[in-house]
Amino acid sequence: MNPLKGASSRRPLCRTIAVALFFVAFAAGRADAQTGEHEHEEVVVPGTRPEVMAHAFGSVEWLASKPAETPNSFGLGQFSLFVTSTLNDRFSVLAELVVEASAGDTRVTTDLERLQVTYRFDDHLNISAGRYHTGIGYYNAAFHHGSYFEIPIGRPRIFRFEDEGGVLPVHEVGVSTRGTVPKTGSALRYVAEVGNGRRWINPDEEGEALDQNQAKSTNFGLSLQPESWRGLSIGGSFYRDAIPIAPEHATGEHIAAAFAVYRTPSTEIMGEWLQLKFHEEDGTSTASRGGYLQASRGFGKLRPYYRYDRLEIPTNTPFIGSFGSSEFHILGLRIDPADWVGIKTQYERRHENQGRFNVVHVQLVFVF
């Protein structure tokens, strides 16, 4: 999600052209349906000409809650157009454009979620510039907008996108480097990012790509994926930024994250815990904490799952104090009736500002 949708919505013509170009690239760039494989009876040496791969992720949903504040309803989820292109052996481009239905009619909003150009030195150093998903914790940079790959419906509360009441700087514009640490046999990986930070003040004003102060956000993360236990990933990250609240005044923002993830085709056990701290200039600080624990196990085409999701936000927290704390229990079943199609049905027991209530949520996800 683009937290600054208002800025882009003032340029409908540009947006329409961008979407049209994206669709043209999408149509022209279809390789194999899912993995981008090309058939090569005629030998084309890789890296000698630009190659494009394109995918689309979509979803259709139905949701009902009790007590019912709104009628049960069908709805369209995000429609994510995802394109990557190798320009040569070293340079590549990635773009992810999300089209969302904004109402029951055909009106849509578009967000350029990611646009990165990457230079690859080797496996140890990849430098990307552009708009990216921050490497805070695990979930954000793993699942992006590909709802097909998420087992439960929706992201954990703490990783919600900015324009859905998210508390984290999920997207940023800047420079991101990532790779494997040498001499560790690909087991130890790092990510280091420098960006503008999230705009908390006047987020809808023009010039979304511009920072509001001199301070840049930084994020550094490490993860260990031991060879002896394939599928396991343990790691953490630390993010810091200074958010301008007035000329010459800023609030410090520190985000610490730790995670342990075990993912194989049949089993998924994931847990993350984050602490988000705002430091005022008078020395006071407020801390919000949140995370999730989820598990699922595949039995053929069936995959039952459970997620516990919690977020604690003190009401006096700057910027996000009004968002409120929450606690969810989610129990569901995913069925994959065919390749690249999934149906998820889940019961949610939610505890939010407005009290406790129950939700039934169904989602059809697909990739093509």
Binding site: D32, V45, P46, M53, P265
Partner: protein
């Protein structure tokens, strides 16, 4: 009689040699056919650990030590040689492998998936022409146009060579 002893010994050896050769042939025939991992002849690599090979086919490792980008070459979807190779090397079914590659692509870690090739001669031709590529053929199909890599220090004609078509063929149940 003493002068006849060497002759008798020689006759005995000659008579048992075919038996020994037959026993060796039977032992080799009992071995499942090996898959030779092939790279371009100019590739400085002489061998890989099995774990490195798996990381390469999973696209976790994407550059050779000399900095050249690795291009993984598989047989086409639906061909038994593809499913078997993915099962042996990656421990994954074709479907799970495809999901893994798309997931890595979505994360921005992969720009282009493996190449798909229709036949063994085409695989040899591709690897011969693409310096960064790595593929596989049945060991008896490999020729001098490509380099066969040692895996865990072993060549395909070694009885302990780990990549054999019927040795596993199916996804690792523990993965």
């Amino acid at each position: 009689m003493a002068s006849l002893r060497p002759v008798v010994l020689a006759l005995l050896l000659l008579s048992t040699a075919p038996l020994a050769r037959a026993a060796l042939a039977r032992q080799q025939a009992a071995q499942p056919p090996a898959l030779a991992i092939i790279v371009h002849r100019s590739n400085p690599a002489e061998g890989l650990k099995f774990s490195e090979l798996r990381h390469i086919f999973m696209l976790d490792i994407q550059t050779w030590p000399n900095g050249r980008k690795i291009t993984v070459v598989l047989r086409e979807k639906g061909q038994p040689e593809r499913a078997e190779a993915l099962g042996i090397i990656c421990g994954l079914s074709e479907r799970d492998y495809d999901r893994h590659i798309l997931f890595r692509t979505l994360q921005g870690n992969v720009n282009f998936g493996p190449r798909a090739i229709q036949s063994a001669p085409a695989m040899l031709r591709f690897v011969y022409n693409a310096p960064g590529s790595i593929g596989y053929v049945n060991a008896d199909e490999a020729d001098s146009s490509v380099k066969v890599l040692r895996i865990d220090g072993l060549l395909p004609d070694d009885p302990k060579y780990p990549i054999r078509r019927q040795s596993s063929g199916r996804p690792d149940p523990n993965w």
